[in-house]
């Protein structure tokens, strides 16, 4: 099937998604960031999906590494050229999963020619430095400690903004500043005007959040960054490590 320059469509095997636990894969357009989320916990899938949607990402959520590979077309021996190109801008995966761990999934993605440049983010409930190092050495873009917060996802999203404008789905180059940021440096400045600049505003207290039972937060809140009650990303280097991805140098 002929493809023009940068236009990519989801493969017909995307139809499999309907049977794979009712995942949603809405039609994509090139300017939208599409994230593949992998987590065996349904609760966590729903939360990460919401976090990503709030930051204007399209989300496909799957419940295992195998399903992720299936979705990406990496689950068989066919040369990727035979498969329709899939537009995936980021993969975010849990570390501890039965069957295939997030680390194993990361390795497989980095071994593939079609997807090795796609940033892979690992999430884990355990802050184990050896684990973090191992993932980063294997080429993980970032490592998030669970429970994941909106500020974490916003930071990831801002990071991707510069890539989305490129025309060809999978041949994405990470911006130079992302590659050269080291572990001890704070996260790179946002590429767009971000709402993460709320240094002057304290996190919202439960009182403020819960004054409106069923609606969103208080409208006359001055703080731009109403959607997060977590501290700004600069703190806690252990929690939010942003490191070089050696594989992409």
């Amino acid at each position: 099937m002929a493809r023009d320059g940068g236009v990519t469509c989801l493969r017909s095997s995307e139809m499999l998604n309907v049977g794979l636990g009712g995942m949603e894969s809405p039609p994509l357009d090139l300017d939208e960031v599409h994230v593949l989320a992998v987590d065996d916990s349904l609760v966590d899938r729903i939360v990460i999906e919401r976090l990503l949607r709030i930051t204007s990402c399209k989300v496909t959520a799957v419940d295992s590494g195998w399903r992720a590979l299936e979705f990406l077309g990496l689950d068989n021996e066919k040369a990727s050229a035979e498969l329709d190109r899939l537009k995936v801008d980021m993969i975010i995966t849990d570390y501890c999963m039965p069957g295939m761990t997030g680390y194993e999934l990361l390795k497989k993605i980095k071994e593939s020619s079609s997807f090795r440049q796609v940033p892979v983010v690992i999430m884990s409930s355990e802050n184990v430095l050896t684990r973090i190092d191992m993932c980063l050495e294997e080429g993980a873009e970032d490592f998030l400690l669970k429970p994941v917060k909106l500020a974490d996802v916003k930071r990831l999203r801002n990071h991707l903004t510069g890539d989305v404008k490129l025309s060809n789905g999978n041949k994405r180059k990470l911006p130079e500043d992302s590659v050269t940021v080291h572990a001890l440096l704070p996260p790179p400045p946002a590429l767009t005007l971000s709402t993460d600049s709320s240094d002057s505003s304290p996190p919202l207290s439960p009182v403020e959040v819960f004054s409106s039972p069923l609606s969103s937060l208080i409208d006359d809140e001055d703080d731009d960054d109403v959607l997060t009650s977590s501290p700004t990303p600069e703190e806690s280097p252990v929690r939010r490590q942003k490191m070089r991805s050696p594989g992409l140098d």
């Binding site: 065996d40 916990s41 349904l42 609760v43 966590d44 729903i46 939360v47 919401r50 976090l51 709030i54 501890c96 039965p98 409930s125 669970k146 429970p147 917060k149 909106l150 919202l204 439960p206 009182v207 403020e208 959040v209 819960f210 004054s211 409106s212 039972p213 069923l214 609606s215 969103s216 937060l217 208080i218 409208d219 006359d220 109403v226 959607l227 997060t228 009650s229 977590s230």
Partner: protein, 163 residues
């Protein structure tokens, strides 16, 4: 009518604060609440509902695993505890999460009695939380029902003292 609504609003607010103060909820719950908006008004309820389903399933798995007298597979129990710890952490169910941390250690120590006791506590704890959150949702529905038009204005005025 306003004073009734105001009173209910105050009770609602205090009730929620007490859940935090008593350690039932932590800031992850606040985070989830902040992800809810008019476009997704049921987000918190949906996530919590899935969490409680998870609790039923995982507690059941653990009970069965511990029921295998003489041949208890503690790693199996531990795997379920790990999952419960993860989802309780994701919704801000602080006490359940805390129990899971202890539970994990008991599994690693293959402490049968300890595990059985801990499982009972987990069972009580998630059910207690469910009942409390159900009360909270019920009250919030009543408040909205009583004064649907200007309820948010009233909140801002009364609770935050803003005009």
């Amino acid at each position: 009518m306003d004073s009734h609504v105001a009173q209910l609003q105050m009770q609602y607010r205090n009730y929620i604060l007490s859940l935090y103060q008593q350690g039932f909820l932590d800031d992850q719950f606040t985070e989830l609440k902040s992800l809810q908006d008019d476009g997704s008004p049921d987000f918190v309820a949906e996530v919590l509902s899935l969490f409680f389903d998870d609790c039923v399933k995982l507690v059941g798995n653990m009970a069965r695993a511990l029921d295998q007298t003489g041949t208890v597979d503690f790693s199996q129990v531990g795997a379920n505890v790990h999952q419960l710890k993860g989802s309780s952490s994701s919704v801000g169910a602080k006490r359940v999460k805390g129990l899971c941390i202890n539970f994990k250690e008991l599994c690693e120590a293959k402490n049968y009695e300890g595990c059985v006791r801990c499982l009972q506590q987990v069972d009580i704890e998630y059910k207690t939380l469910k009942a409390k959150l159900q009360d909270m949702f019920n009250v919030s529905v009543i408040i909205v029902h009583m004064n649907p038009v200007s309820v948010w204005d009233d909140f801002n005025k009364i609770i935050l003292g803003k005009e």
